[in-house]
Structure formats: C-alpha cells, structure tokens
Symmetry: C2
Subunit: 451 residues, 2 copies
C-alpha cells in the first residue's frame, strides 16, 4: 500500500520541528517571565462540553469520535431509519476533539476551582482540530498558544498582555501594530445611534470592513433593519482615531463612557511602561461573542511589510461570563492568543529564523577501518559523557559515502580517523564549509567542540 496523510494534516521534518519549537519557546519564555503557569487539557473532550459553544458552523466543524465497540447497539433507531446523520451523532459519539483552547480552559477552571488560586494566570500551547476545508495556511490540525488570566477585572492585566505581545514580536524580530478597542465603546456607538438592540448585527457587519466595501456593509445592515444613514454614521464614527472624540458623543451611554475610561486606563499603563506599538482602532470589532471589554488584534506593521499580505498574527480580549455555562459565575478574565502557524510563515518569508535553531551536533566522526571506528566510538562516548552533542557514522564505510552523509546532514565538522591519525592518537577535524583540515588530540578536540 502507498501511505498517505489525511487531508489538512502534516508531518514535520526535524528542521520544521526545530523552527516551531523556536517560536513556542520564545512565546513561552515570555509567559513565564510574566508569572503565567502552564496547564494541559486532553485532546478529547465530552461532546456535551464542546457542542453549542462555537455556533452552528463550529458544531459542524467539530471532529467527533465514534463510540467504541458495538456503537450501533445504542444508536437512535429513528435517526437511523431516517438516515439522519446529525440526529444520529448524539447516540453513536460522546467525545470530540478539542476545537480551541478557550472552552477547555473554562471547563478546567470550573472543575479545578479548588486546586487553583484566583486570579489564575495560565498559558496553554496545544494542538486543536477543525474539519475546515484545507487551503493554503489553513490546516485541520494546528497549534494554538493562549495566555489568560481569570478571576480579576483589573485592567493592569490588559497592559501585561499588550506588553507580552510587544515583547514576543520584538524577540522574534517582527515589527507589528497592536490594535486595541473596547466592546463597550462599540456598544456606546450603537446606543447613541439608537440601535443597541441590533448591537451584535452591527458588530458582525463592521468586523467585515477590511474584507468587503462600505456599500456592502450598508446593504447587509439594511437587510437587518438598520437604516442606511445610521450605518454611514456608525462607519464614520469608527474612523476616528481620537479616543477623546467619543466622550462627548456618549452623553447618553454609560456603557460607552465606561469603554472610553477602560481604554484610557490601559493606554496610560502602556504609555508608562514605554510601549509604542499600541494603536487605538475603533473599527476593530472581533467576531467572537464572548468579549465584553477591551479587545486586541496584532497585525504586521504596514509601512514596513507592504509586500506581505497576511491576516492577524494574534488577538484576544476581555470576557466576563466565560465560565457561566459550566456553572461558575462572576469570573472576569482577559486573554490573548498567538497565531503560531502564521508567525511561522512570516518568519520563513522574511528569513528571520536564527541560523542555529536546529539542535544537532556540530560534528560527526567518520572512521576508515574497524580499529579506527572503535577509537572514534570511544571518543564519541567520552565527549557525550561530558555533555557534548556529537554523532558518529555507524561503520567504516567508503569515505565518499560517509562524507556524502556528513554533508547532507549539514554537520559543520567531519572528524576523520584513519590508520595514520589513530597511530598518532589524533583525529582530522575537517571544516565542511571551508574544507580546512586540522589534526587534533582529544583535549584539543574537546576544547574546540565545547565552545
């Protein structure tokens, strides 16, 4: 049989794993510095935990796991007779694959509330699965990197998260804009235009302004019963870049005023700690329904990277009721996530991965005969014992074959041992870039490789 991978999934070769680790480690190091703690949740969750949390579309994209054993024995006969796939699912599948890290986090907090301390600062870097149609840059299995704090409404955490964004992207060498807005400000706009009952419709439509034209947004909202003039005014409002413009407009919107205050406080925090890449953008809406306060999105700095077309590299915001569905109320939280797959693509395109990202030995022993191989193996093991990574070709094969392997694996040095070197108690260290060769005894070699 010719093996194949399921569509939308990937194997990772060593260099790819190393590059991905570089991204995850950079992110994780920053999380740790800010006092966030790691948790992990299982790949499989009960379908009852997942279903209904991501909208109808999300429910369809959940991967469901077939019950083991004779699953038809417990199947819903009516659904079976009617060949109704959707209705049948409940009776033949009780588990699904994690769709994101947010719902499992909410479940985790509720189930472990007596083991953890609030405010609970956690991060989680794990794969998620979605039955989306695979396309360039979109996979059915991909990693999410989330960092959240739950159990406090302090706006200091918004500032910490903005600072984490700023530090991580600076460490990676990518210049970004961190956009900030507040759902309460958006609600204030709806309120002062008298369409607060259509707040969700408005938000969803405005969120599309970077993909569709203003005329199309007007059209869409007309279909939802919002007059053209109101939509036009809303669009004009969210083009402002001066936060203070909004205060006077919100004379009749307490929520709107609260939104402005929250934004001012967060921006003040950020200014004090010297963050320069934070930008107030009232057109930022974020589709997800659970946000209730500040919202964030990170994009490439346009002036710098106008040649790269790439969606957001991260996003997040504050939510007040995440754990409500699992029975734990009054838990305000705020979190952001990093789009690791897109960050990978940006680093690749800009050639920003460090040269030495792959953790592999710099040198490999190549022996010319059995006795030399014995000596090479002994040296190899002695070097490893003192902590030096080193490799050895497994047998005294033809020199050409061994050199070909050493070059293909991209070792920096070949350590060649033949009868002559062995009799002198030395090896020839050959630099595979320059071709230079130098005889070394064990002590010289140790010093060379330990650097």
């Amino acid at each position: 049989m010719k093996p194949a991978l399921p569509k939308g999934t990937r194997d990772f070769l060593p260099l790819q794993v190393a590059r991905r680790k570089y991204i995850f480690n950079t992110i994780e190091k920053t999380f740790v510095k800010y006092g966030f703690l790691p948790i992990e949740t299982p790949a499989m969750e009960s379908l009852s935990t997942l279903t209904g949390k991501y909208g109808e579309e999300g429910d369809r994209l959940l991967f469901k796991i077939l019950n083991n054993g004779d699953f038809l024995a417990g199947a819903d006969s009516e659904a079976l007779e009617a060949r109704d796939s959707q209705k049948l699912i409940q009776s033949i599948s009780k588990r699904g694959l994690r769709y994101d890290l947010t719902v499992p986090f909410a479940r985790f907090v509720v189930m472990n509330q007596n083991e953890i301390q609030f405010p609970f600062k956690r991060y989680q870097i794990q794969p998620v699965w979605r039955a989306d149609r695979p396309q360039k840059g979109r996979y059915q299995e991909f990693y999410q990197c989330d960092v959240d704090v739950i159990g406090s409404d302090s706006l200091m955490y918004e500032a910490e998260l903005v600072s984490i964004y700023s530090e991580v992207f600076a460490s990676l060498g990518i210049e970004v804009e961190i956009k900030i807005n507040n759902r309460k400000l958006l609600f204030g706009i709806a309120e002062c235009l008298g369409i607060e009952d259509k707040f969700v419709d408005m938000t969803v439509a405005l969120d599309k302004l970077d993909k569709i034209s203003e005329a199309q947004v007007v059209e869409e909202l007309k279909g939802r019963g919002i007059e053209e003039s109101i939509t036009i005014e809303a669009i004009s409002l969210i083009k402002s870049d001066n936060l203070k413009d909004f205060t006077e407009k919100f004379a009749n919107s307490e929520t709107g005023v609260k939104g402005v205050e929250e934004l001012l406080k967060v921006m003040d925090y950020c200014k004090r700690i010297g963050i320069k890449d934070l930008i107030f953008d009232p057109s930022l809406a974020r589709g997800l329904g659970y946000y209730t306060g500040c919202i964030f999105e990170v994009v490439l700095k346009k002036e710098k990277y106008h040649h790269i077309s790439m969606g957001s590299l991260g996003g997040g915001g504050r939510y007040d009721d995440l754990t409500d569905i699992f029975g734990l109320n009054d838990m305000s939280g705020v979190g952001i996530s990093f789009g690791a797959e897109r960050i990978y693509d940006v680093l690749s395109e800009l050639g920003l991965f460090p040269q030495d990202v792959e953790e592999m030995p710099s040198a490999i022993f190549l022996a010319m005969d059995d006795q030399s191989h014995e000596m090479a193996f002994d040296w190899t093991m002695k070097l490893r014992k003192i902590g030096i990574s080193i490799d050895i070709y497994p047998e005294p094969a033809k020199f050409k074959k061994q050199m070909k392997y050493a070059n293909a694996r991209n070792f920096k040095f070949a350590l060649i041992v033949g009868e002559q070197e062995r009799n002198e108690g030395k090896v020839a260290l050959k630099d595979l870039d320059t071709g230079n060769q130098e005889l070394m005894d064990f002590e010289m070699l140790r010093r060379k490789l330990q650097k």
Copy 2:
C-alpha cells in the same frame, strides 16, 4: 451543566505540567546529545494506515473519527440494515487517532524518504490514544517517547540506545536494570528443540513467565501442540545467565549462533564504554511481532526498590521489516521507548522531582494603595525587561487577601510597598518561609532576584 472529562483522560495542573516537562526534557536532552533529530506526525492518521497493524485487539482499541457532514449518505447500506457496527465503520470513518508512534514513524520514513538521510536518527515525544479500559496508571490518552534509528544494521546503535537508557535513568536518579536478549537466540532455542514452526507460540507463552506459573506455560503450549518435556527444556534453557552456554547448543542453528554473536558484540560495546547496568536475560521475549534482533527492557533495580511494584519503564529492539508494509524494503532499524507515565509515578513515589521544577517567579509585588501599585507595576516591568520573572497582585486589595494569595501560590518572597516604603523609594522584601523582612531599593532588589 456540570462539566466532566471523558473517562481515561486527564487535566494537568501547573505543577504536574512542570514535572512532566522535567521528565521529557531530561529524555530529550540525552536524545539530542546522541545526534537524534525530532519529528512530529499528526494525531489523526488514515484508518488504512493504522488498521491491521496492532492485531485484532489493537483494531478494536483504535479511536475512529466520524466522517464530517452527512456521513450516512456514504454509508454501507447492507451493514446499516444488518446493524453491523464493525462492518459499517469503513464507510463512515476514514480517520483514526494515532495508537503508537511506531507505525506513524514507518509511514513517515516511507513518505519522506527523499527528504531524510539514512541512517535516519529520530526521536518523537507525542501523545497516543487507546480505547483501553481505564484503570490505575492506564489512560486513554498518554505520551510515548520513542527514539529510533533506521537504515543501518550496525550494532553500534544498540549500544548507543543502551547508553541512552543508562544516562537518562541516572539523570533522573532512578537505579535500573537494562535487560537484553535477542530474538535470534530465542529462535535458536526453538530450532534446537525442533519447534521452529511454533516459534511465535513459544515466544508469546515464555513472555508471560513473569505473570503466570511454569505449569501454566506448559499447559498453554501443550494446547498449541508442544510437548511438556520440550517446554520444560525451553524454560530451563532461558534460565541460564551465561551467554556462552548457548553457543554449543546452537550447533545446528545458524540463526541461534548469529543471535549469540550479536549479543556478544553489543555487550562488548557496552562494556567498553563503562555501562554496568546491562544484564543478559534469555527469558526476555517482548510480545511485539516485529522484532528480529536484540530486544531490551528496563525495570527498577530489584534489590534497591523491592517495595515498589512497577512494570517495565521502557523497552525496544531491532526490527528488519518495519517499513515493508508501506512499500520500502531492506530498512533495518532499532529503537527504544520510555514509559513516561510510569517514570512519573516512580519519581513521585520516591520524591525524586527537583524542588525548583516549576518555572515560576520567586517573588510577587503586593501594593497597599493606588500610588504604591503604580510604583510596583513600574518596578515589575523594569525587572521583566531585564529578564527577571516576577509577578504582581493586580490591585491594592486588603493586605491579608494579598498575603493569602502569595502564600497559596508558593512564592518565596513578597515585595511589599506601602506609603512609607514608597516615600523612601524602597520595597520590603519578606521571605515567606522565615518571615524575615528587609528594605531594598531597586538596585538591591535586582541583585537579589537575579541570583
């Protein structure tokens, strides 16, 4: 709703994640030192890749993923009418969850044979899923840590792997016995007893000798057509601990002689590099069918830990035909794996986890009023900027509440700032173990925390 986890799955709290990382990192560091490279494969594999590779029992224990959308539209009508679950699976599920890392590795090698160099030294640390009945220490989702080299029959690699076992367990502080045997030697025994056609039956039965009595093994093999006297002789043979005993017995078994030679060579390698915990054990059989040469198993050193009853902490061996099923022949390989879950249990039971395994800040700022909180936040961010991990309570709450949090989170120091400290430009560093308190300016604090 009251949330729950699917049976056999687990959440990991921060301390557990940290301890698991400690184990994985210790193992990984050793793999890297020996020149092994990381790969990753997807959690979901095509069912055609997985089915039939783990025996009938394995097929049953595979988690199958329901096809998305209207899966009944493509379902096998006959199987549906007959309510035949097993027959129906093929037509409603085309993907399954990874059951181990060995079959995905074989598939990976075949699919990526032009991207990799042989001998290919790889390691892989990822979760696998099995629909086993959950019980103490057995989960439906658990990690495997595998290290293999494929594309060479050099016995040097057996020695490298034994050395990896030895180093990893020494690093973890666990004393072990590494048992070695060879499937060719077992075949030699079958051959010299004239039951080579019943080799598999013999191996499977002998493998059970640590669980069932000799009489039961005799009985089992009688059922397979092997006479009692022969089974008794086989049992007596595998009680020998002198490898040389076998050479004379194998006068008529070329394979048996080869097995002895291989063992001698590997043991010679290991002796030369000073490995003391390798033990020849001809009763070691290893159930898995694909082994063809040396086989290994690691157990706790009995004299040392007679109070702990624990199965093997790892095992492995050489295989000649792993990639055959996927169409790539003549690829000899050898690999071992680490039982990370059991290692976790042993380290817990023996109290061998390092104290500082959890990566969290040593100190947290507690502020007594708004202005002090501003100062504390500025200091926090300045310390983080120079690479120091540090946390801060999000607001100037009641002192008692803040101290309770600092103690519950197990910080080493609380950094207390009130009006008095602030006016002096200092903070009070309180050691939460001893209760000692000391006033410090920023520079003193930096030096204290950087240590």
